[in-house]
């Protein structure tokens, strides 16, 4: 052990004291909770009678539970559509706004605004917007002579409706992309101009590579939060019709707080954790191939 000077020791002690709130929170809310969740997942427990040890029976039951597979499928479809579409939409809007448009702060305000709104109020708004007979979406479609579907009341359209809702908030990503675009050094474009590069070449060889770290950040955060969608599913559809929007979080909530199957819900919780861990690891593994770090790989 290297001897630390008195000042260094004091600084280190202060450092530990400053991060102490997080360390305590980590020990209780993360480490202890993860262990307890795992322990609970090995029991049969309805909160009223004492927990009964069942080993891995809950995990076995989960794997044979049609609703688990249904909810996993629904959630995966949701994540795999809403996240890439949200990135594409946000990125396109940022590209448009980066074309030296007038009134930039106005457009930015309008597009960003929906991203800050959330909660039950927004979900209620969408129920009414998607109302098949009296809603504004089908009214707008009817102006073009298109008969609108039943949206949230229709088994096939309910999940796409929730994806559309999520895209309404794509302006949140747009703000980040716009700032990223404005941070790309103009010398790069000037050099390409001298070399006679076309607009498309500049876009695909400068803009996109320079933006990949930002896109990657949004991809990771979007995937993590996409797996945890709750309010929309609970308020708008309650998981229906016919479980078409049974999001994983909703199914877990129902098991824990409606059926009081704490062990089963904990098994679902651990499986969700492992899925998210696997997906983020996979994304990080592929990132070496496509994410470009201009500063040579310092990812702090």
């Amino acid at each position: 052990m290297t001897a630390m000077g008195k000042l260094e020791k004091r600084e280190a002690l202060a450092g530990y004291l400053f991060i102490l709130p997080w360390v305590c929170g980590f020990l209780v809310f993360v480490l202890f909770s993860l262990v307890m969740a795992f322990y609970t997942s090995l029991t049969d427990w309805n909160l009223l009678s004492p927990a009964r040890w069942v080993g891995f029976a809950n995990y076995n039951a989960v794997l044979h539970d049609d609703l688990f597979w249904k909810s996993l499928r629904v959630t995966l479809i949701y994540v795999c559509t809403s996240v890439p579409l949200g990135i594409a939409l946000g990125f396109s809007m940022a590209l448009l706004l980066n074309q030296k448009v007038r009134g930039l702060s106005f457009w930015r305000l309008v597009y960003y605004f929906p991203a800050v709104l959330s909660g039950v109020a927004v979900s209620l708004m969408w129920i009414w917007v998607f109302n098949p007979d009296f809603g504004i979406v089908n009214l707008a479609l009817s102006l073009f002579g298109i008969p609108g579907p039943g949206w949230i009341a229709d088994t096939h359209w309910a999940l796409p409706s929730i994806v559309v809702m999520s895209l309404w908030g794509a302006g949140g990503g747009m703000i980040i992309y716009l700032a990223g675009l404005q941070g790309i050094p103009t010398e790069l474009y000037e050099a390409a101009q001298i070399d006679g590069a076309s607009v498309w070449k500049k876009f695909s060889f400068i803009t996109v590579p320079m933006m990949t770290p930002v896109i990657f950040f949004n991809l990771i955060m979007g995937a993590i939060s996409g797996f945890q969608v709750f309010t929309e599913a609970y308020v708008i559809t309650g998981g229906g019709p016919d479980n078409a929007t049974l999001m994983y979080g909703l199914y877990l909530y129902m098991n824990a707080f409606k059926y009081f199957k704490m062990g089963y819900a904990s098994a679902l919780a651990w499986i969700l954790f492992l899925i998210i861990l696997a997906i983020t690891s996979l994304l990080f593994a592929t990132s070496r191939r496509w994410v470009f770090y201009a500063d040579g790989g310092d990812r702090s």
Partner: protein, 278 residues
């Protein structure tokens, strides 16, 4: 000549797309707001009225008459005051520790902290519920407030990014002058960091105000409902009275909207700091 014509054309296309996009973005809000002032009979007109022909402002008064929304507002505000203060301050402490103080294991602990962002809220939900139940905290606001005093990884990250850009000299000068680390943090660093404190406070407020799952699990008594539980309850009672429901939704969104319009520049700054430099 041709380039300027092409230029004009591309301008028209750009502004055209931007305008159509803005209309699409605003349409749901327009629909919510106009419905909120329609009498019930006009809500179910076919074809629907885009601009209301009759106004019934009493929808808003009815919201407060049917359920004590004033009380729900205050309840949520009470949680918000403590939770916002708690997470803004505790996250600042931790962020400062990670950004400015050297101690063994600091890098590894910081990475561990970022890693916890990957842990879904649901994974620790059941043990936390059981813990609060053991403490006798169900039907109190404590489960919604206390965890915020232990730092929030995302806010800690924001603070750390900001503190790192404050020159070390400030820190060292203060410490050599005999200020302890604590006083340096309170007297020197924190006053320089008001912009990031604001950003974190705004995020934290919006988070508390719009949280639905937390109150849904921990609050059962009608008197203690938060604003989100309140609208959800109203919807359970008046399923088809959309004028009323939209009025309640507008009311619930007012604080977020006010904050947005007054502080949007700061919010945008915060998004940029977290997203681009991350």
């Amino acid at each position: 000549m041709t380039t300027s014509r092409r230029n004009l054309l591309s301008r028209i296309v750009i502004y055209g797309i931007l305008t159509i996009g803005a209309v699409i973005v605003c349409a749901p809000l327009w629909w919510m707001i106009t419905t909120s002032v329609k009498p019930l009979a006009d809500v179910f007109l076919f074809p629907p009225e885009i601009i209301p022909s009759r106004f019934r402002w009493d929808n808003y008064a009815d919201v407060f008459r049917l359920l004590p929304f004033g009380r729900y507002f205050l309840n949520t505000l009470l949680i918000a005051v403590f939770a916002v203060a708690g997470s803004s301050f505790s996250s600042a402490l931790v962020g400062y520790g990670f950004a400015k103080l050297r101690f063994p294991g600091s890098q590894a602990l910081f990475m561990l902290m970022l890693g916890t962002i990957m842990i879904p809220y649901y994974t620790t939900l059941v043990p936390q519920f059981i813990m609060y139940r053991t403490f006798g905290w169900l039907n109190t606001y404590l489960p919604l407030i206390v965890p915020s005093f232990f730092g929030t990884p995302f806010y800690i990250f924001l603070y750390r990014q900001f503190f790192r850009n404050i020159p070390r000299d400030y820190n060292e000068a203060a410490i050599i002058d005999g200020c302890g680390y604590w006083r340096t943090f309170i007297r020197v660093i924190l006053p320089m960091s008001i912009p990031v404190v604001n950003v974190v406070a705004i995020y934290a407020f919006n988070g508390v105000w719009n949280d639905f799952l937390g109150p849904l699990i921990y609050i059962n008594s009608e008197k203690q409902r938060t604003i989100q539980l309140g609208i959800n309850a109203l919807r359970g009672l008046h399923t088809v009275e959309w004028g009323l429901l939209m009025a309640a939704s507008v009311i619930a969104l007012v604080p977020t909207v006010l904050i947005f319009f007054f502080l949007q520049r700061k919010m945008i700054q915060g998004v940029v700091v977290s997203g681009v430099k991350g």
